[in-house]
Amino acid sequence: MKCEKAQDLFSSYLENDMDSAQRSAFEQHLAECPSCEARYDRFHATVMLLEETPEVKTPPAFHSAVMMRVEQARHATPQRVRWWDIDWQRMFTVQVRAKAVAAGVAVMLILGTVVMLSPVSNITAGLFPGRGDATNIGENVEAPPGPLPPYTYRGVEADYALPGSGMNLSVTVQSTQGQGGVYDLKLEPNGNSSIDYAVYLRSGAPGSSPISEGTLGAGHGARIPVIVSEPTRTRAVVTEIEWTYEGRRHTSYVFLPSKFDQDAATRELSVSLRGADLYEAVGKVSAAYGIVIVSPGDLGDKQLDVTNQSGAAQLVLSRVTNEAGMHWQKLGSSIYAIQR
């Protein structure tokens, strides 16, 4: 028996998985080959070592973290926008502008579905209690006993007090992996008034029902998970938030790219904005650079005098907002707000 052949049989010999003829040949080889014999001894020792490898303890908070995600999964209701909700009439009007928007919307809805659903392949489960996780509005979270492992929450987050409106918006980017973007929007009143609100998918069909609505009270907010599954870089998913504060109605848009790019600030791209109005332009910038943009809900429909833009996100955003008499503000990594 050759050494190589003997080594191939180490495991079989160890596990007594050989017929007697083979075993004799093997033992004969070991008797004649000190190198293989020594090697086999160390092989045996290695296997014993592996067998003795202790278990590691499960982190104390692991169980609660799993159950919290399970609770999320149970309470989220998937809502799909179906093709029969689309207003086909409007889709094919002659107006160039409407067609541009509608065509984009159609692509989004037919080829992909925008599903508001919590359980996803969300690897960045930022549900470690007490670790600066902002997704726990109104949920009872117990602090885990014992020392905490060094777990880093991997989410990009920004808070924004929408000007003069009594509403605070938080955007958390839960996951940037895979094809889509997973976002958590949180609405909280920043005063003591209660606020009636509704959130729509603006890029859905006009007149569709809200994906979330209700009343916010002091210390009681709303959490709206939004997942963008359509991997397009030309359109952003736009959520529209409407609310009433002290008798006045407010609206705001949140442009959510399907592929969020935390390092967007460093990228130089070209974006075509010919013939776009402010709403479309912001959507394109959001989608192209992978940045989240919060804006007022009344952007007007004036066509901007910008054509093709190239450069970094902030530069292009500056040009677009200047054109419209507005300015931008950075809220967090790749999360911006535009204001008058």
Binding site: Q7, D8, F10, S11, S12, L14, E15, N16, R39, R42, F43, H44, A45, T46, V47, M48, L49, L50, E51, E52, T53, P54, E55, V56, K57, T58, P59, F62, H63, A65, V66, M67, R69, V70, E71, A73, R74, P119, S121, N122, I123, T124, A125, P147, P149, P150, Y151, T152, Q177, G178
Partner: protein, 209 residues
């Protein structure tokens, strides 16, 4: 001669346990979250340990294990009562791990600073009955880290096979089922993995002292 000793239980006891687990799984399928909570309790150590050994670090293990349980929750309605549950759950963890590997190429190393706590009833304790001394604890952790580093150096499938065989005590048949590989392949890869580990660990004399 190394032989795998199955857990010494009477066959009645095993049958009773199996029936108990089937009932629990059925309750999970019926949407009983309390039952799922119980299932998590029963499996979290195995799931986390497998995830830890194949990912090589605590953080990824957390992510993989958590995602695995979530997938179990979302797809338990597809589990056929007559199939073997542990095989099914290990298939899921394996798929989560492979999916995660595809997405991120980062390979984080465990350092001694990572808060890894080993179970105190580990075999390496040997003769001291009063519990491990602090020195012994550090020794154990150090040894574990060396072994884990060696395991990290293996290719994916060998890593999974070693872990399933030696740490999860799965049989060749079960491993073949979990990884969807022919049994012969599992056996030869395990042999190769053991020898690769042997070579890696040979430079650490204190391990074999």
């Amino acid at each position: 001669m190394f032989s795998k000793t199955p857990k010494t239980k009477s066959s009645e006891k095993r049958e009773a346990e199996r029936a108990d687990e089937r009932a629990l799984i059925q309750r999970c399928k019926d949407g009983d979250v309390g039952a799922f909570d119980e299932l998590v309790s029963r499996y979290e150590k195995r799931v986390f340990n497998y995830a830890y050994r194949v990912t090589g670090n605590y953080h990824d293990a957390w992510d993989v294990a958590q995602e695995a349980f979530l997938r179990v929750f979302n797809s338990i309605h597809t589990f056929r009562g007559d199939a073997v549950f542990t095989t099914w759950i290990f298939r899921i963890i394996t798929n989560v791990y492979l999916d995660e590997r595809k997405k991120s190429k980062s390979h984080r190393q465990t350092s001694l600073d990572d808060y890894i706590e080993l179970e105190e009833n580990s075999v390496s304790r040997q003769i001291e009955d009063d519990g491990p001394t602090p020195d012994r604890i550090v020794e154990d952790r150090e040894r574990d880290r060396i072994v884990q580093n060696a395991i990290d150096s293996l290719p994916e499938y060998q890593r999974m096979i070693v872990t399933l065989y030696h740490m999860q005590h799965k049989s060749y048949e079960e491993i073949a089922e979990i990884l969807q590989l022919p049994i012969g392949t599992v056996k030869s890869r395990l042999n190769r993995a053991r020898q690769a580990l042997q070579e890696k660990l040979e430079s650490e004399p204190e391990l074999f002292g």
